[in-house]
């Protein structure tokens, strides 16, 4: 096992409360967790805050991590997912819809390239999906987890996850076709 392996670093955190090892874990997983939280909540401020909470929970609950039973990345995503779901359930003040990460696809200036327009359309369609469908799609297609791992992160059966994925892909396809069809 390599000395910078996730489980080796976690063992140092568990046994010695080693902040240096913890910092290396943060550096390694920060971008992935932040990307997931940003796409799931649609808010950069929420993603920043929840990302910090996720890693502080990792530190506080390091002793409950069991190497070999689950990969650290999966465990971290489960913490992040639960925090994000709690956040999304909280009532928000009117007019503060968390969609800042998904700009209006029709409002782009002429200078936008075709690829950035495509990306904006995708982000808008993704942001409009129900949170659990968005989460399933992000975990499998963007974060690169298998269906079984994604189901574990979301706390649902594999069959339920696949049903969420199917609905998400169908809706996304339809929305993207609608946007394409409505463009001049």
């Amino acid at each position: 096992m390599a000395e910078d392996d996730d489980d080796v670093l976690m063992a140092l955190v568990q046994q010695q409360r080693d902040q240096h090892a913890f910092r290396r874990l943060v550096a390694r997983h920060l971008t992935g967790i932040h990307r997931y939280l940003l796409r799931l909540t649609g808010s950069a401020a929420d993603a920043d805050e929840l990302c910090q909470e996720t890693f502080l929970k990792l530190w506080a609950r390091a002793d409950s991590y069991r190497p070999g039973r689950v990969r650290l990345g999966t465990w971290l995503h489960r913490i992040a997912h639960n925090l994000a779901v709690d956040e999304l359930r909280r009532p928000r003040p009117e007019g503060s819809e968390a969609l800042e990460a998904a700009p209006d696809p029709s409002a782009g200036p002429e200078a936008l390239t075709q690829s950035s327009r495509t990306r904006q359309r995708l982000e808008a369609a993704l942001a409009a999906l129900p949170a659990n469908q968005r989460s399933a799609l992000l975990l499998c297609q963007v974060q690169g987890f298998s269906n079984a791992e994604a189901a574990r992160i979301m706390g649902v059966s594999v069959r339920s996850l696949e049903s969420l994925l199917a609905r998400a892909r169908r809706t996304l396809r339809t929305r993207l076709e609608d946007i394409d069809g409505s463009r001049p």
């Binding site: 409360r17 967790i33 495509t118 993704l126």
Partner: protein
């Protein structure tokens, strides 16, 4: 596998046939060999999956790592408590003793006394006749 079944499977497992269950992937390859519609669906699904994978291009804000480390030292470290209790051989006993002592003190202060002071009630009953006689009212 029909074209519609192929489309349903595409929605569940995505365009990468290597991520499909092996048996279904074999059936899908047979459908793809004969159906133009299935091939079109696969191309569209690949395009969507590639667009989604394009979202991987992301970097977390630079300040986050140092902010997490700063909060680690300023927010306190609740993580010390569990290992402290669990690892030491005598600590579970000490913890049980502390909980027992707390419970005992709580019982002393909060529970109703078993033998409440009934003096006033007894005196009222015992001397109600005398009270009635002195004040000339029915007991």
């Amino acid at each position: 596998m029909t074209d519609d079944q192929f489309e349903d499977a595409l929605d569940r497992w995505g365009a990468d046939l290597n991520r499909w269950p092996e048996r279904d992937a074999r059936k899908a390859r047979r459908v793809l060999a004969v159906s133009r519609r299935a091939r079109r669906m696969l191309t569209a699904a690949r395009s969507l999956d590639e667009q989604l994978q394009g979202l991987r291009d992301h970097v977390a804000p630079a300040h986050l790592e140092s902010r997490i480390m700063a909060r680690l030292n300023t927010d306190g470290d609740p993580g010390w408590a569990l290992p402290w209790i669990v690892r030491g051989r005598w600590r579970p006993a000490l913890l049980a003793l502390a909980i027992g002592a707390g419970g005992f003190l709580l019982g002393l202060t909060a529970a109703a006394p078993e033998n409440p002071d009934l003096t006033e009630e007894v005196m009222t009953l015992a001397f109600s006749d005398l009270y009635a006689e002195v004040n000339d009212v029915a007991p």
